[in-house]
Amino acid sequence: MALQLDPTLAWAQDQKSRHPRVEIKSREKVADIPFDGQALTLESYSEFSPALLAHSSGRLILAYYYGPDALGKGGIKFVYTDTSRLEFLQGHTDQFPNPAASYTFGGISMCELTGGNIGVVYGFYIASYYYLWRRIITPTGVNVSAAEIANFYYNGNEVNTYPTVVTLGTNSYMMVYLRKTTDCLFYKRTSSNFTTWAAEAAVSVGGLTAANYKRNPSLTKLLNGNLWLWFDYTETLGVNNEELKNIYYSVSTDNGSTWSSAVKVTDYTEFTEVVKHPVAVQKTALEQTLMFTRTVGAINMNDAEAGWPTGADVTQICMDEPNGVAYLTCIFNSAGTKYLECVVKVKLSTWEVLDAWDTTTSPGFNIAYASSCWWHFDKGSRYLIPVTTNGLGMVSVLNGEADTITLYAFLDQPAYSVTKNINYTFPHTGYGINKTFIDFDNKRLWILLVSGYTWHTGIIVGYINLNEAGPSYTFNVIVNENVNHFTESELSGLGTAGYGTFEVHPDEDYIIISSGTYVSSFPGFLLIYTLDGNLYKEYKFSSYPDFPWRGICKFLFYDGKIWGSTQYQSLYGQGDMRGICEINIDQDLFIMHRPTYVAHDTYFYQEMPCLGTNGDMIWPDSGQGIAVYNAISETWTLWNNGNIGGMTPGAQEDHLCAAYWSEGEMILVGEGFTSSAWNGLVMFSVLYGAIQQTYYKEMYYSGSEWVFSDSSRMVLGFRDDEMVGAVDPSDSSSLYAFWKRKESTGVYSIIWDKEGSIFDLSPYLVNGEEVVCNRTIEQKPSTLSFTVSHGHLFDPFNPYSLLSTILKKGRKITLRWGELVGVSTYWQDGGSFYVTQAVLSFERGKYTNVQVECEDERTVWGQHEPITTEYYNDYPEVILKDILKDQVSMIEEDIDIPEFDNRTRIVAQWIETPIEEIINQICNRYGYYFRLSVSGKANTRKVSVNNAVDHVYSDLAAIMQYAPDDKYSDFVNRVVVTGQEQTFIEVQFAEERVKAIQGTVGWWGYKNDFTVNYSEDGSRRCIYPKLVVIESSTSIAFKLSGKIQESISFEDPAYHYCIVTVKAPNLTFLLLAGVAVFLLGSFIPDGVTGIALGFIASGVQGNTIPIGRIIEKVGIFLCMMVLGAVGNYQYEVWATPLGNVRRSIQSQADDTDAQATMGTVISKKFEDPFCYTTADCYNVAAYELMIAKAQRKRLNITKVAHLQDEEGDTIQLLHPYSRASIYMFITNLKRSMKPGKGGHFLDEIEGWVRS
C-alpha cells in the first residue's frame, strides 16, 4: 500500500517551488540506560572521585583525583567542555607536593560562584591530619586561588572530611562534611565569597543514632530552593564489624538552618549487601534521579527471578561467550526420581533471564523429561545444549539462539509418543546413552553408549550431524568396543557409581573417556581414541602403576595435557596420591597436585570444573568452596564465604558446577545440591574483589510527596562506583553521568555516558554534498549516505570529544524527509539505518568531513550466524513472522506482513541457513519481496506489473529524464518450474548385492543361520532376496550323505532382513565306520590261494591274498573321504531395495507472443522446493516469466522528488513524446538531496512498464 502523506506535505510535493528539508538523527540501538560508558582518558594511572557541575554557560566542569602517575605524583585534574558540550578540554591540574601514595584522597565537590567562577572543596589525609581545602577556578579551568579551610588531627577515631558544597544564593555558599570522634556528626560552614568561611557548626539531623557512621554526604539544591542532604548510614554493626547500610536523606527548607529527620529510601537488610555514595540530580520540578552504589561479594539469582521457571538445581553451565550468555541446565537433585526442571538462558552483563525452556514451554522438552533425566551426562557448547533422559535412549538438543529443540531417539517410547528416529540399533539391550558432548565448530552431537551388563560390557562412541535434516538421523559409529573389553566394575565409573567424563577434541584428534568411581574397590581408567576410532591410549593401573587406581573423575584439557580429579586409594602403593592428576599424554607421565588449602584424602572435585585464564583451573569443592589451581604457578587458592562476603546465600558451600565468563572476568557457580537450602546461580570476581554496581531510583513528586521507583541498574558493568551526574543544560529529560570503573589492570578510570543520546546531525550536513537513500525490491538492505562536518569531533577515536560515539559503527540513524510550508516543516519518515562505515581523514590545510554510509537492519541480519529453524508446516506469513520474532527479536507491533496471494502451506526446516536467505526463499516463491518500511516495520509487497496504480503524474512537470533500458533482459520466453509432491510413494530400485557370506563346512557337521540385514543400521527395506552361490563345498562324502543345503530360509515380512541357512550333514558315523573297517581288517590275516582262508599250513605253497590289508585300505579310504569332506563356501545375497520418493511435478508458462515473434522457444528451468503441485509450479513459472518480460520493458526516469513514492509502488506517467499513459512498477528508487547552489531534490527511478 502506498504511503499516505500529511495532506499539506502532499500538496507541497506538487508545487513548482519546493522547500525540501532533511533530518538525520543518531541514537543508541538499545536503551541508553543501563549505560555502557566510555573512558574519559587513556591514562594508565588511576582516576577517581569525580565531581561534576553543569555551568550556567552550558559547559560541563569535571574534577577528579588522579595518581600516582609515572612520577608517583597525584592531585586533582579539572576538565571542562565548550559551551555546546562538544569536546573535553584540559584545565588546571592541582598536583599535590608529596608522592600521591602518601595521601588518602577524599571527595571533591563544586558549585558555581556568583560571577561565574567555580568553587571547589575537597578533602585529603596525610601525615596524621585530615585537611579541608577550597579552590576557585574559572569555567575554562584556570586556577584563581586555593587555601586550606581547616585540618583535624587524627587521634585514633575516624574523621571523615569528605565535603559537599552548594550555592545558596548570590554570594552565599554552604558546605557540609562529616566528622566522627565519639559521635559521627554533620558539620556545616558558610561563606559569602568562597574565600573566607565561618566556623563550623553542627547540623542536627533527627532520627539517627549519633554514634553510627554516616558517610558520603551529598547536597542537592532543588528548583524550589529546598536543600536535600543525601548520605549512607550504618544502621547496625555485625559481629565482625560488618555494616548494615542504607541510603537516607534530610531536607532543609531554610537554607540549611534546620533539617528534617532522616528519611530512609532503601531497605537493604543483609550485611553482605552494602549501599553507599548517593547522589541526586533534579531534572524538573517533579522529577529527580538518585544514583548510588551497591556492593556485594557476589550476585545471585534463582527461580524467583522473572522468566526463570520453577526449579533451580543448577547442574550444568554452558557459556556462550560471543553472546555474553550462560545456559543453565537445572535438574532435580534431591532424593527420588531425577527430572529436568528447566534450561535457563541468562544475559550476564545485565544479569537477567532472557529465555527458559522446560516440558511446558513451546518449544519445549518432551514430557519424558518431567520424570526422567540424569544430571552429569551432557556437555553443551555455546548455544547448543544437550539434555539426556535416564535410560530412555533419548537426547534433546536445545538451540538457544534459534529457539528450537530437536529430539534424537534411539528407541521407540510409545508412552511419551516418541518414535525412534536414529538409524541405529543398540547391539543389545544392555546399552544406553551414557554421556553426550557438543562439538560446536563441526556441529556434531557426540554420544557415548555404554553397556555395563556383566556378560556383555562395551563402549560405543559415535556422532549425529546436527546439520542433518530430519525426520530421521544417522548415528555415525566411530568407536565400537562391544567385545567385553572392560569389566563391569571398570565401567561403573562411567555410570551411576561414578563421575566419569566424556569429551571430544577434534583439533587434537582425541576422543577422551574417563572412568572414576566412588566405590573404593572399583578400578577406573582413561581412554583416548583418535577420531578414526583407533585406541591411542588406555591408561589403567594394571598397565601404568602411577596412574590413579580408581581412575579419573572429572578432567580438564589444558596445554595438551589432561588434568583430572581422583578418588583416594590407600592401597597398591598409591597412599600418597591425592588431588589433581596431571597426565602428560606424550610421555605417559602422571603427576599429582595436592591442594594446599585443606588436608583431605579425597577432594570433592567430582562435579563440573572449568578453565579460567592464564592457567587457572576452577574446581568446585563442595563443602570447601571454589578451588582455583594455577597450572603455571602451581598454586592453589580457595574462594568461599570466608573471603568473599555473601558469596552464597546462607553462606553455604555446596557447589555443583562452575564456568568462567572471560569477558566479564567472572566465575559462575551453580548451586544445586540436595542438602542446600538455596539453589541457583552465583557470580563473583576473584580478580576485582567485591562486585560494585551503580543503581538508580527515579523520584516523582506527586503533589504532596516524593515517590521513589524501584532500584534499577544504571551501568552494565560490575566494577562501577562513585557516580555523579548533571542534567543536560539543553534537555532536562537527559543527564550526563561520570563514574569510576576498576580496570583489569587494577587502576581506576573515569567513565562517562549520557542519557537521552539522540543527536541531531542535520545541522552538520555539508552544503553541496548529497544525502542519498537507495531502496530496492532486490532483497538487499536499503542504504543511506551523507556527509557531515566537524570530522574531528565525530572521529570515533577522539577520546576528548563528546561526539565520538555519534557515528560509531552500529549506531542507529533515522532519516526524515520534509518540506517547509510557511513556517512549519512537515515530515515523512525515510527509514532507520545503522552506521556501517564512517570515513574521514585528517590532512593539514583541509577541513575534515565525515562520509557516512548506512544500511538498514538487514545488514546486521546478514552477519548473524546461519540458523537452524524449527520444522514448519504453515503459511508463509506465519513462518516469516515466527522467524522475525525468534531470530531477530522483532516484536509483533513492528511486523506488518499481509496474507500472501495464492498462499499454500510450506513444509520445511532450514538447516544452517542465513536468515535473509530464508526470508528471500519464502518471498520469491509467492512473488513478493521483503522490506523494512520507512517507518521501520517488517513488510512484504507483491512484485507485479499489474498492481494498482498508487500515484498518477498527469503531466510532465516533474519529469526530467526518460530512458528505456532493457540491458538486464534476455530472450527467455518460457519458464519451466519443477517441484516435488509432498507425499512419498514406494518405489523399487535396481537389484543390488546387499551382503557376502563366507565360511567353512566339514565332516563334523554344520548348520548356521545368517541374519542378513539389508543395511548396517537395519533400517533399509528390500524385497526379492536372492542367494547367489559363488563357491560351495562338494565332496563324495557329502554327496553320498545328502549334500550341503544352502538357502534363504526366512524373509522378514517387514523387508529389513532375511536369514540364510547353511547346513552340511554330519559324517562322523562314516568316519567311525571307516575306522572300524580298518581295525577289522587289521585282524584278518592274509589268505593263500587254495588254502583255507586264514590258515597257512606249513610247506603248503600258494598265492597270498592280503584280505586284511585290503579291508584295512577300504577302511582307510573311507576315513580319508570323510576327513577330506572339508571346504569353503561363499555366497552373495542380492535383493531389490525399496525406497520412498516424492514424485516430481512440473509446469510451465509461455510468452507466446515472444515465441511467435522470435520463432523459437527459449526456456529457463529451475526447481522450487516449495512447489508441491502443478498449480504451485505454474504460479512460480508465471511469476518468473512476468519478470523476464518486464525486464525487457525496463525504464529509467529522473523526476523531482515526491515523498509519496516508494519502491514497489506503481506510478502512472505520460510518455514524453506521445503523451500516452505509462504504468511503471518501481523496482529501484534513489532519492537524493543536495542542498545549496547547484543542488537538487530528485528521485531516480528504475522500473518495469506494464505491457
Binding site: K16, S17, R18, H19, P20, R21, N767, L820, D955, L956, A957, A958, I959, M960, Y962, K1199, V1200, P1216, K1234, P1235, G1236, K1237, G1238, G1239, H1240, F1241, L1242
Partner: protein, 123 residues
C-alpha cells in the same frame, strides 16, 4: 556612522569597500520537460564570507588585526551597519602591502589591506 569594531579593535578608518551583510540564499533549480522545479533551503548569514578592503590602514590597526588573525580564535564583529546586529566571525585571511612614501617611516601605513571574515553566528 561610528567605526566598526572587530574583537577589541575599533578601526581608525572603516573599510574602503565591504561586502553587504545580508544572508545568502541557498537555492537551485532544475528544468523539467514542461516546467521548472525550484528548490530553496532558505537564507542564512552563517557561513557567508565578508570581504573588507582598505586602501590605506594605519600599521597599528593592521598589527592588531594581525594579532587577532594569529590568535586563531573566533572574535566578535560589530559592523556598525545600523542594524544593531553583531556577529561571531573567524578571520579567514588577512593581507596587504607596505606603504612606503617619501618621508614616511616604513611602519606607519599599510596599503591595499584585504581581510576576509567568515560569519560563524549572529549574536
Amino acid at each position: 556612522m561610528p567605526n566598526m569594531i572587530l574583537g577589541g579593535l575599533t578601526f581608525n578608518r572603516n573599510p574602503t569597500k565591504m561586502t553587504m551583510i545580508i544572508p545568502d540564499k541557498h537555492c537551485a533549480y532544475e528544468k523539467t520537460y514542461s516546467s521548472v522545479a525550484f528548490f530553496s533551503w532558505g537564507t542564512s548569514i552563517v557561513g557567508k564570507e565578508l570581504e573588507l578592503e582598505w586602501t590605506n590602514m594605519r600599521s597599528s590597526d593592521f598589527d592588531s588585526l594581525d594579532t587577532m588573525f594569529r590568535a586563531d580564535a573566533e572574535v566578535n564583529f560589530n559592523p556598525q551597519a545600523g542594524t544593531g546586529k553583531t556577529y561571531t566571525v573567524n578571520i579567514v585571511s588577512l593581507d596587504g602591502a607596505y606603504q612606503r612614501i617619501l618621508g614616511s617611516a616604513v611602519g606607519v601605513w599599510r596599503s591595499d589591506v584585504k581581510m576576509i571574515l567568515l560569519v560563524m553566528a549572529e549574536v
